[in-house]
Amino acid sequence: METLLSILTGFMIIGALYALHARDLLSALIAQGIVGYGLVISFLLLQAPDLAIVQIVVETITLIIMVAVVLNSSREEIVESWNRNKVLNIISSLVIILFMAFVFAYMIVSLQPFGEHTMRMADYYTGAGAESTGSANLVTGVLFDFRGYDTLGEATILFTAALGVVTILRAKNKKEQKS
């Protein structure tokens, strides 16, 4: 299990790196799809079909929208020349990467072995969750009963996203029509 997940994660890292450096934006999108669908397979391997369904559908829809955007604008990536800002960015990101690697190496010692958990709430959810909510699918029971606020927040995020897209695109149109 762990080796399989490591191989998948390696593929996803390669895809992400290629997506950053590809000249053609369409192939960068395809490489980004590798990351998303690799995540789907790792969710399935970790026995989380709920997350896998959400991830595969959202990944497909965002890929469709982004492919449409790329095909309607430009496929070429803008090439930037080397200047002082870029060197400064690279140095600062290297410093942050080294710092994070140090912190993670320090923290990983105190983690539980793979597949075990230390959360006390989860024990309660898996034990008495099905009886107290009456829901056979425990994930939905937790989402809509114990963690109702979270679900409301997620629905509000989507609502706000739609509101923002509609507002931005329409305001620009009205200004163009007036002038």
Binding site: A136, L152, A155
Partner: protein, 145 residues
């Protein structure tokens, strides 16, 4: 917005109903099998996006549909909040209270208020994703002309 070729149209005609039904199944069986409001809503929105992309449409109809989807989205979010507020008046007086009778675990009609939340969250997600997609399509069409 123009449609695609005959092959795409025929395949869409065959597949779209199945995709839509699968989305409804995921939404309504969210408390029994994997899935739920979010996943099912996204699948339903995917069926509509497939239809619009394959067959194409006039900007006027797209604008009318965008108005409808944004109204549906707002109303279903409002219904979710009202259902959650109604929990304040039953039983233990908690926001997001499960106040309907729970029934037998594993049956389609069970788990109290959870399936109702699932259905409305599904409608909200589908309408929100469709609104975003339609807004982008309409913007592109209006910029082009």
């Amino acid at each position: 917005m123009n449609g695609m070729t005959l092959i795409v149209k025929k395949v869409t005609q065959l597949m779209c109903g199945l995709i839509f039904m699968y989305g409804l199944y995921i939404i309504t069986h969210g408390h029994l099998t994997p899935g739920g409001g979010f996943a099912g809503g996204a699948v339903v929105a995917g069926a509509f996006i497939l239809l619009i992309l394959a067959y194409g449409s006039e900007v006027v109809y797209l604008k009318k549909e965008e108005t409808q989807t944004s109204i549906i989205e707002s109303v279903s979010l409002l219904v979710i909040i009202i259902l959650a507020l109604a929990g304040l008046f039953f039983g233990t007086y908690v926001f997001f209270n499960n106040y309907l009778p729970q029934g037998e675990t594993g049956k389609l009609i069970s788990a109290g208020i959870i399936p109702v939340y699932n259905i409305f969250v599904g409608i909200e997600v589908a309408a929100a994703l469709l609104t975003i997609f339609l807004a982008l399509v309409i913007y592109k069409e209006e910029v082009k002309t």
